[in-house]
């Protein structure tokens, strides 16, 4: 018998029941909730007169709708000007009180983007199954956890049964071997992966990211990579447990302590794919080939290196691709063969569950330090992923660096990643964004998103157009890499 993959191990450890029809019941250890995908689930529970199965498995926070200016936040929920957003936030608060679920509310220092909060609290642990009504839940897989996004019906199902009704996925491994160049970050790695394999090749798969370049990443970097697994079509992204993982988890509020810690660490050491494990599909990239990435289109696979150019649709391999490239260029207002460095920007967004952790802010701050945001940039904003990230950044003086450079320093939330609050792009505006999706209208009606790393976003803010962070003086770009 061949060995097991990390995914196989996690699956087997949580398998409650395998049914003859191919479906299985999987036990869920951690369920994260936010205000957008949960109200209809609680309503369903109420209508069926059901109760949550296990309260302490649930952890909730408000993130998608919350405003990010200090002025609005100072008023708590009543600072939410949009009445529809306010109802959604209040509904989560009310549901958590009614059912007795722990919630980090709007001005709790622990509040933040759900995928930043879980790991930060130690509420995400290796070996767990983690679900949330949000497709970026794969983020938690960075800890050697089995984590995926679910829909609202499944949120209700998990609340009521502590299980997910699902089917086993295929095993896919994406290896990145070698050493990343200076100025090349986890974000560039995952964008390059999606550029290579496309937005659908992970469909039906659990992707394990592996190889020396992945192992060299910090936990923040690993979360960035797993976060975007869904952008390659995979619900699940994961990375094996090693010392980096265990060092990160120690001494967090929900982490085990004492003897339980020792037992847990011993158990977590097994959360790696066996050397003889079989994958259905393996893709390998060389780290040396990856340069800082910029997306040019309206799908995350429409991405290229900073030295590249916008493709010419007439050179597309088939008609479907040609049509989608033509439509993308039209929406984005770009010309075939236009150089990436010739794209001028209007707004800059540094934040989101992909890139709003302390390391991301440090990388951006190193580029911004002592510089000024270009006059042509209408708005450059930095939105920390949680209240605790914000506090840490302020202790390190990063807020001052950003403010002095002309960035706005905001309160934590999802913000302009999906523009459910007041932070939006106007029609036709180009934005260098550290978020995860460049879909049409994602950041605002008619808005044009370019996905980049935090260092690339900061550099674009200073220049007013895309520049190669590797071409900046050594004290900026190289330090960005060391963080």
């Amino acid at each position: 018998m061949s060995g097991q993959t990390l995914y196989d191990k996690l699956w087997n450890q949580h398998l409650v029941k395998q049914r003859d029809d191919g479906t299985a019941l999987i036990y869920i250890d951690r369920h994260m909730l936010h205000e957008v995908t949960s109200p209809q689930a609680f309503e369903g529970l109420r209508l069926a007169n059901r109760k949550p199965w296990r309260l302490d498995a649930n952890l909730a926070t408000t993130d998608h709708n919350v405003p990010t200016t200090l002025e609005e936040r100072a008023q708590g929920n009543s600072g939410i000007k949009d009445p529809v957003s306010l109802i959604q936030v209040q509904t989560l608060d009310d549901n958590c009180v009614e059912y007795g679920i722990t919630e980090f509310r709007i001005n709790d220092p622990r509040q933040g983007i759900v995928h930043v909060v879980g790991p930060e609290q130690g509420a995400t642990l290796p070996g767990m199954t983690v679900v949330c009504g949000d497709s970026h839940t794969a983020t938690h897989g960075a800890f050697g956890a089995l984590a995926h996004g679910i829909g609202t019906s499944e949120v209700e199902h998990v609340l009521a049964t502590q299980c997910l009704l699902t089917q086993k996925m295929k095993n896919m491994q994406v290896r990145v071997e070698g050493e990343l160049g200076l100025g090349v970050t986890a974000k560039d790695v995952v964008l390059a992966i999606i550029g290579k394999i496309g937005t659908a090749s992970g469909t039906g798969c659990a992707i394990e990211f592996a190889g020396s370049a992945i192992e060299s990443l910090s936990m923040e970097g690993r979360m960035t990579v797993c976060n975007m697994a869904i952008e390659a079509g995979a619900r699940v992204g994961m990375i094996a447990v090693d010392d980096t993982t265990i060092d990160y988890i120690g001494n967090r509020p929900y982490s085990p302590t004492g003897e339980q810690w020792e037992a847990a660490v011993a158990d977590w050491r097994n959360l790696v794919s066996d050397p003889d494990a079989k994958f259905d599909n393996v893709v390998t990239l060389q780290a040396e080939d990856i340069e800082p990435q910029v997306s040019w289109g309206t799908s995350p696979e429409m991405v290229t290196g900073i030295s590249g150019q916008v493709p010419d649709p007439s050179a597309a391999p088939d008609e479907t691709v040609q049509r989608s490239h033509t439509r993308a260029l039209e929406y984005m207002g770009l010309q075939p063969n236009q150089k990436i460095t010739d794209i001028k920007l209007d707004k800059i967004f540094i934040g989101s569950c992909t890139n709003s952790r302390i390391e991301d802010l440090r990388e951006a701050a190193k580029v911004a330090k002592g510089k000024k945001v270009a006059d042509s940039i209408m708005l450059a904003m930095v939105v920390p992923g949680s209240g605790l990230v914000k506090r840490q950044a302020e202790e390190e003086g990063l807020d001052k660096i950003f403010i002095e450079a002309g960035f706005e320093w905001r309160e934590p939330g999802c913000s302009m990643c999906l523009a459910m609050n007041a932070d939006k792009l106007g029609a036709g505006e180009h934005c260098a964004s550290t978020s995860n999706r460049n879909f049409e209208g994602r950041q605002g009606y008619g808005g044009r998103t370019h996905l980049v790393s935090p260092a690339m976003a900061a550099a674009a803010a200073i220049a007013g157009y895309f520049v190669d962070v590797r071409s900046l003086p050594a004290n900026d770009a190289t330090h960005a890499q060391e963080a």
Binding site: K17, L125, S135, Q162, L165, P253, Y254, M420, E440
Partner: protein, 215 residues
């Protein structure tokens, strides 16, 4: 959930690959705390010429005449024919809610994104995967004939075209069973309540740190 019964329905072609859930239902409409009423905002950015707001009276908004669902021949469509990787992007269940609320019962494509696939079946929406060639042929047939309909038979797992051609499709046994009988997943799972409790006990004994209370 309503039982899924055999029907003949008008087909609307959406000739676009990688249709994402932001396109199916833009984010401003996710603020509702209800499951219904999303149909008027289905494909909002494509369907209307202005930017939609939640709660708005959509009958007064300027329609995009080029968009397929606004063309008279596709009114009352119940089958959506589209291209590969339909439903990619976010996990919002508002996407199948919007499709259903609009009146679609079936979506046919060469492939679907995972989370959307799950969400659709849990709401009684049947997703049918056909080959790229079969989809291409259907696009041509729909184009060629006003009021083109397909006969969708889930029980037999087949589509009968207007030319009498039979296209067979695969569907997972459990999902088919739930759709045909209008069954709710939670009720089925709770039949295994004892198995879940037994598993939970064993799991807690083996890995107690997974059950720690809030610090």
């Amino acid at each position: 959930m309503k039982k899924f019964e055999r029907f003949e329905g008008v087909v609307a072609p959406l000739d676009r690959a990688n249709v994402d859930t932001d396109l199916i239902i833009p984010k401003q409409f996710l603020k509702s705390i209800k499951r219904t009423g999303f149909g008027v905002n289905l494909f909002d950015d494509l369907r209307y010429l202005d930017e939609g707001e939640p709660g708005q009276d959509c009958s007064q908004r300027p329609l995009n005449p080029d968009f397929v669902l606004n063309q008279p021949r596709y009114q009352n469509a119940e089958v959506l024919l589209t291209r590969r990787n339909f439903g990619c992007g976010s996990s919002r269940e508002h996407a199948p809610w919007a499709l259903e609320d609009f009146g679609f019962k079936v979506v046919i494509a060469p492939s679907f994104a995972d989370i959307f696939y799950n969400n659709a079946f849990k709401n009684g929406l049947l997703l049918i995967t056909l080959s790229e060639d079969e989809v291409e042929r259907l696009f041509n047939e729909v184009e060629a004939k006003d009021g083109y309909q397909l006969d969708i038979d889930l029980e037999q797992q087949r589509i009968i075209t207007q030319r009498g051609e039979i296209l067979e499709f695969e569907v997972d046994e459990f999902r088919k069973h739930c759709l045909l009988n209008g069954l709710d997943d939670i009720g089925i799972t709770l039949q295994d309540e004892e198995a879940i409790r037994a598993f939970e006990q064993k799991h807690k004994a083996a890995r107690p740190w997974l059950f720690r209370q809030t610090a």
